[in-house]
Symmetry: D2
Subunit: 341 residues, 4 copies
């Protein structure tokens, strides 16, 4: 940790900060600078201790800025866990070198709709079946999902077609219920910092699919993963799904594909991209899916619908069956090429 003092900081203020560090049994390194003094804390501190010291020193007179030189996350960090984490769901391994596609409709609307979607997803070659039972909707007047009935449909259809399933859970108290019916718990972008939910998802032991919040930094994203990991649950899958856009005229969000190599460098957790929410436009899903693949993603999550015109939510970004098939074909060829090199 490095504390930078204000330019006009007095010797007394500098000494007060140094004394405060010494009172914790740590020997500070005072670094008289060009036009201001910096103070280094060289000791190896626990994350808790670091966070406490930061808050308190930042409030002292004459202090300009406190900078952490360590990452604030630890369990999620590749520095402490060098090998890639593999998350296994049934026979599917995420993060192990195969490019995994999670496909399905935004919402589970009925057994017929979801079953029809699942058969298309399966036959096109995707490995995991997605669908929303509880839908987070910006408007209270929009379709909110089938809830428990949706979970039951998902479980039944998943078994019928032989695909592991993933659905979103929106609050901690629903984790046990959702965990009973589906294979992977999805935590949505709006819930990325719903800390009670992260803790319950961690406790469940189930694989957790964590979406990056629309204005979350990489550090905030990995700290959210850290909440799950700190409950003893190592099965966290990260998902880049687009950050908030300055220009919403052509795409709904900005898919931050550079986050893929950034995350692969700094964490051992698998990284998935969601080009459907990342763009919000069906015809941009395929180019962004291919871009995610070559950028190093471990897979993608893609929305499709047996009949998008009848979708009760997010119709404009869902692929039609033939578009989904085309995406699977192109992705398959590209993945084969990439792997072959």
């Amino acid at each position: 940790m490095i504390i930078v003092m204000q330019m006009g900081a007095t010797p007394e203020q500098i000494e007060a900060v140094a004394a405060s560090i010494r009172s914790r049994g740590i020997d500070p390194l005072v670094l008289p600078g060009e036009d201001r003094t910096a103070i280094g804390i060289p000791a190896s501190l626990s994350s808790d201790a670091r966070t406490d010291i930061e808050a308190q020193i930042a409030a002292m007179d004459g202090v300009s800025k406190v900078t952490q030189t360590s990452h604030p996350y630890k369990l999620a960090s590749r520095e402490f866990h060098r090998e890639d984490t593999l998350v296994t769901v049934g026979e599917v391994v995420i993060g192990g070198g195969d490019f995994v596609v999670m496909g399905g409709p935004c919402s589970i609307e009925s057994y017929e709709q979801f079953s029809s979607a699942a058969l298309i997803v399966k036959s096109a070659g995707a490995q995991i079946l997605r669908g929303g039972a509880f839908k987070p909707r910006t408007s209270p007047y929009a379709f909110q999902g089938l809830a428990l009935e949706g979970l039951k449909i998902m479980q039944q259809v998943g078994q019928e077609v032989g695909l592991p399933t993933i659905t979103e859970v929106m609050s901690g108290d629903l984790v046990p219920l959702v965990a009973e019916y589906v294979d992977i718990l999805q935590i949505g972008a709006r819930s990325m910092q719903n800390f009670p939910l992260l803790i319950e998802a961690g406790k469940s032991g189930k694989p957790v699919f964590l979406k990056r919040g629309p204005s979350a930094t990489i550090d905030e994203f990995l700290l959210a993963a850290e909440y799950v990991l700190s409950q003893g649950n190592p099965n966290v899958i990260l998902c880049e799904r687009g950050i908030v856009a300055l220009d919403k005229a052509y795409t709904r969000n900005v898919l931050d594909l550079a986050a893929i190599p950034v995350l692969k460098e700094h964490t051992h957790l698998p990284v998935i991209a969601d080009p459907s929410h990342g763009t919000g436009v069906a015809r941009y899903v395929l180019p962004m899916a291919k871009a995610a693949l070559v950028a190093g993603a471990d897979g993608i999550m893609v929305e499709m619908h047996p009949n998008p015109r009848e979708a009760l939510s997010d119709g404009s970004q869902a692929l039609r069956p033939e578009q989904f098939q085309k995406l699977m074909d192109e992705i398959h060829h590209l993945a084969t090429f990439v792997k072959g090199r």
Copy 2:
């Protein structure tokens, strides 16, 4: 609602959209445009119907964009409820013309700390006592609050000093517990779109203090309020607390003060500003508090601490007792001047 077709849209595609609207019993107005056609839906639709139609038409071939001409919120809209909503908590009225100050520490750390803070808040003339019992912290290793013990301290101290209280609740299942101990339920910026929480807060009937999410648009903010209102709870207080910053070097967030007159125009709900989180720096709290006042806010929420250097969270933005007193004095004089005109 206005549907704008793509430039190359065929007559068949245009007719298909028109037919789809007619199938709902509505007569569309087709507007052959400069280089593309627009289609208007003149009928008076429920919000539900509008949301459904929008999703489905957006997925049709040849459609470029669907624009709502109505606001997506209704109960929150001043168009449907012209008089200002007053939220009454004990003897304090929020939104009624008096500038209300909510003060207190970020976290409730102990009876002694909170009691000491409350006495300062009260004697300086603030009307509502704030403090965190459950703390949403970006890092799982940071201080998370005293939880139930904090609620009990808050209730006891609130009664001792004679101030209504406000604290954050982070998940729907905790609403009944928190509602038992405090007067106003705060929903934090990270929880603005925690829909199960919004619904439970709505059901509680308690005043709800809703913070704007860091990247939330005004429409998303008012739709979050709509979730609470739609449960039959009219007591919603809005809080602008800073949006995500492109430059975090000098302030933590960007306090969007123009949101105050924007909100006062479009909604009848009271609007509070939070210059503490809005800037993250104690010495910018006073100028931003005064700016919020003259911009038309109904009050402010301000963090103070009996001894910021010992604060377990957010020390750098908390006012010291003498700074809080100065803020109250300046605000009092300015509010008197503004009211006198």
Copy 3:
């Protein structure tokens, strides 16, 4: 164009708007809406007329919003020019299906440095040679480029190695000078809305390489291109180089790769990606270069340096010679695969 009135707009206000449109000889379509009225302008207007009407009607009482249903750009629009524009520079064709790499150092530092860089660029198989003679630097104390001497070095080296050249020009009065020495005029991100410069670049008739501004929308980007095109110069190449980031901790900017398919859909101009400035980190250049390729870009601009540790600017994002060679190899193989399908 569609004018949406405020909800409380009076019949007189609605009529005033309609009358104002009629006074221009256009017959407005009044669309009584759900809770507010919309007014459509169906006639085919010139861009000038549209812009004027928009400004004036937006100031009328009772008007809530004026929405253009046409794109504001015309010459840049694919709607008016369906075939891809090919920009030919020497023997290199940009936009014609071959993936073009523009490589070279950030700054031209000396004949030796630039010549050494150019030989590496050429032998690795890149088609165009880049380098800065006039450097736009955030700080007045940073290296500002060799200016005219740099242009002369560029011309000489370009001829020696047999590669077309590109360099940035920062002001309109320097266009004739720069145009004399180099093949392509680059307009930097900070200059995207330097309108006098755009006009001079247009007049020069030289190919213009236009970088997207860090917070520019797609419409603003294409309108900047329109400035060049409107001078009768059809040779405009667009470059996505990263938009302003909310999180600058890991990358300097956010490379908006979805802008590639968006631009390819809405304009006929070639689209290049700049993964060097787009990320600011040398080790993320290769994955983002490959992502740009599969997303449909016509090429990339990449910074390399014979010895990055001695670079006078932007050292942290420049590729070393062996990294540049590796990038060219991987791009070549991927481009061959993509083209073969």
Copy 4:
């Protein structure tokens, strides 16, 4: 300056960085950290030297980040120039405690329009007359201003009503011409990093009114001022005019009012707010003007028009004569109150 090494940095890499610093005659302080090493540069360096070292060290193996502990600007910094800079134009002093209002139309459209506007501005009590002769317009098809004719009108009208004048100059080569006719040179938000223009404006010796770019950080803003100051021209006035908005539905930009106290703390230059461009909506200009005043601004720039419905540009944000008078009255009263305390 502090260099933070990557976690896995080898002793050789650390030593290479230290050696590189020593080779410049500076003795580095190596700070073995918790999980990584930091290296401090304690010597007093010129800005040039710092910028060079930063670029080169950032490219070395094992380096994670280079952080400047000094501000990158110097002449603009209050640390080096503690007293407020006063900019005097005719009899008007900007930055000296009086709240200065610069008013006038967006564009100079004709002698009649501008003269009529100027009389209103003068009689309402504003001190400086603004108006655009060269207009930067996003679209090449929008009204571009009267150019030289506009400058002549401005000079004549300014003399007739007895007000100093300000107009925008868009390129360096026009500085001498514009400087001949008007009193203050305005550099627009889009030109904030037009470095050749900044240098010419600096050389002119005229007062320079510098607007913050829409996505500029505070450091970038002050470095732009530094360009002007470094030409020996101390007369720089800063203007906050709104940063790029995530939500453009209700306001055009986000007026960052906290930038006022931030700037007043870190620089000695006067700070003006522009609530007209900052919101883009006439009815939000007054509350934001008052907010800027109490936040500590030295003045405001406000657009007005004798008849906004006939404005050739920006009609929706211009105040009508009676609105401008009301603003001047309210500002006058508030300024008197604030000064009296």
